[in-house]
């Protein structure tokens, strides 16, 4: 992280310290930074929170994987066969307007309280974003590049995987980055709602129930760090491997 990226977190830390140490905000609602970071240190050293992180990451990963496969599959179909889009646009717009959290009870009803409901809800959310970005990525391929490839002897299959795929990849990854930012939110929320043995969401919810305020704050920091690391890793990959993005 660059120097300037630390400025706002530092300001938040200062504000948090003022509010908590001076007890402007009651300790009932707000743990102090030292209590929170000590608790975080204990949770990491004892390995207690690592299992929660592992399970949350596992659900995020599977939600992204299943959702991306389904979304990209249908997105490709819609992008390549415009008539499918013509017939399915209304239906897709209806289903993608349904909030993922509102569907969580439905997934619990179908899959029970276990992981499939949490992963299914996340996958549902991911699938529609990937469907739309994949279909746009395929439809918005630069026509001059297709003409150039055709003039060089490319057939439809070659045009698809040598031109349309790489040309549309940056657009597709914009959609994936949105999923990567929101999938942890969906997973953590579903862990809070339905309860589970391990998971950051469950830890946050349980800490609130038991008034372990420092525990709750430590878990919230971990949830934020998970999202931050996933985003940074993704950007690192995109900047190095998808160098033609925006060119």
């Amino acid at each position: 992280m660059k120097k300037e990226h630390w400025l706002i977190p530092l300001l938040i830390l200062v504000l948090w310290s003022i509010l908590s140490y001076t007890k402007i905000v009651s300790q009932f609602f707000m743990a102090t930074p030292s209590e929170t970071f000590l608790r975080l240190y204990d949770l990491i050293i004892s390995g207690e929170i690592l299992k929660d992180i592992g399970w949350t990451l596992y659900r995020i990963f599977l939600g992204l994987l299943v959702g991306s496969i389904i979304g990209m599959g249908f997105g490709l179909l819609i992008g390549l066969v415009p008539v499918v889009w013509k017939y399915s646009q209304g239906t897709i717009d209806f289903f993608r307007s349904l909030p993922a959290f509102a569907l969580f009870p439905f997934f619990i009803l179908v899959f029970g309280h276990g992981d499939p409901a949490k992963i299914g809800t996340t996958a549902w959310f991911v699938a529609f974003i990937m469907l739309i970005s994949t279909s746009y990525a395929i439809q918005d391929v630069n026509e001059t590049r297709i003409q150039a490839a055709k003039s060089l002897g490319a057939n439809r299959l070659s045009i698809f995987y040598r031109i349309s795929m790489p040309d549309g990849l940056p657009q597709l990854l914009v959609g994936f980055r949105t999923c990567l930012s929101f999938a942890p939110i969906v997973v953590v929320a579903t862990e809070m709602f339905s309860g589970t043995e391990y998971g950051i969401g469950d830890r946050i919810y349980e800490a609130r129930l038991l008034y372990k305020v420092a525990d709750m704050y430590a878990s919230l920091i971990v949830a934020g760090i998970i999202g931050l690391i996933l985003n940074k890793l993704f950007l690192y990959f995109v900047e190095r491997k998808i160098h033609w993005s925006g060119r």
Binding site: T144, Q147, A148, A149, S151, L152, G153, L169, H243, W244
Partner: protein, 258 residues
């Protein structure tokens, strides 16, 4: 002596689907290009120049008529193509080397063999660039020369150029035009250049076809650019260039009003 046709468009028809009615761009359109000659196609925007070129290059289909090369229907890949928008026509995810040898990639030719061919073609065309770079790392003029090298890499039987210099700034335009025509001259390749810039047409062509502005387009006039013995890259500096320009400007105006 009547020169034999190398590229031939016979009664070609082409319609586009318009918002209300189909738009007929070409109707019974015929055109001949002689071997080893450069034909300029001049006309205003929207008169169908790029459609003609796309049909010859094989990336556009025609509804009726015949498009022949040496008497046989043109097959995609036989005609190299140079596009107006050089940065959009190159593939930014591939290196310069892979861009130039794209037609060889399609044929499954090994990387080493492709690289050798790319080195040979860039050297023989006098294009001095690092072939391991990506297109967006080059200047506009260099990108257009890479496009030219790509169009010529697979030894096409002819070359078509769609407003190849119009996206370049004034200073680059003259040098890229000169380099391009030096290459076309040295290869003795049959070429078609479409442009709405008369100076480009005169500087590059042996004959110029003036198209009417109304659709479906028709040939208003075919003029010979009589600069026998003047090398293509030197034409613009020759004494008779201004004279020819004056003369053909009148034809261009008449074609526009026709």
């Amino acid at each position: 002596m009547v020169e034999e046709s190398y590229i031939e468009l016979k009664n070609v028809c082409k319609q586009y689907v318009g918002r209300d009615n189909p738009i007929s761009v070409l109707h019974d359109f015929s055109l001949n290009v002689s071997k080893s000659k450069v034909l300029g196609i001049y006309g205003p925007n929207g008169c169908g120049k790029t459609t003609i070129l796309g049909i010859v290059a094989g990336f556009l289909t025609h509804d009726k008529g015949e498009v022949l090369l040496e008497g046989n229907p043109i097959v995609t890949g036989q005609v190299g193509c140079l596009f107006q928008n050089y940065s959009a026509s190159l593939f930014p995810w591939l290196t310069i080397s892979d861009n130039i040898s794209f037609s060889m990639i399609l044929k499954g030719i090994s990387r080493a063999e492709r690289k050798d061919k790319v080195r040979y073609i860039t050297e023989s065309l006098g294009i001095n660039i690092n072939i391991d770079k990506y297109p967006y790392q080059l200047s506009g003029g260099q990108q257009q020369l890479v496009s030219l090298a790509r169009a010529l890499c697979d030894s096409p039987k002819a070359l078509v150029m769609d407003e190849p210099f119009s996206s370049l700034d004034a200073s680059t335009r003259a040098s890229v035009r000169s380099d391009t025509m030096k290459i076309v001259d040295s290869l003795n390749i049959t070429a078609v250049i479409v442009s709405h810039n008369l100076e480009d047409c005169i500087a590059c062509s042996d004959n110029i076809v003036f198209l009417s502005s109304s659709l479906p387009t028709r040939i208003f006039n075919v003029s010979e650019v009589n600069m026998e013995g003047v090398k293509a890259e030197r034409r613009i500096h020759s004494d008779i260039f201004a004279e020819i320009m004056d003369d053909l400007e009148k034809t261009a105006l008449a074609a526009r009003d026709a």
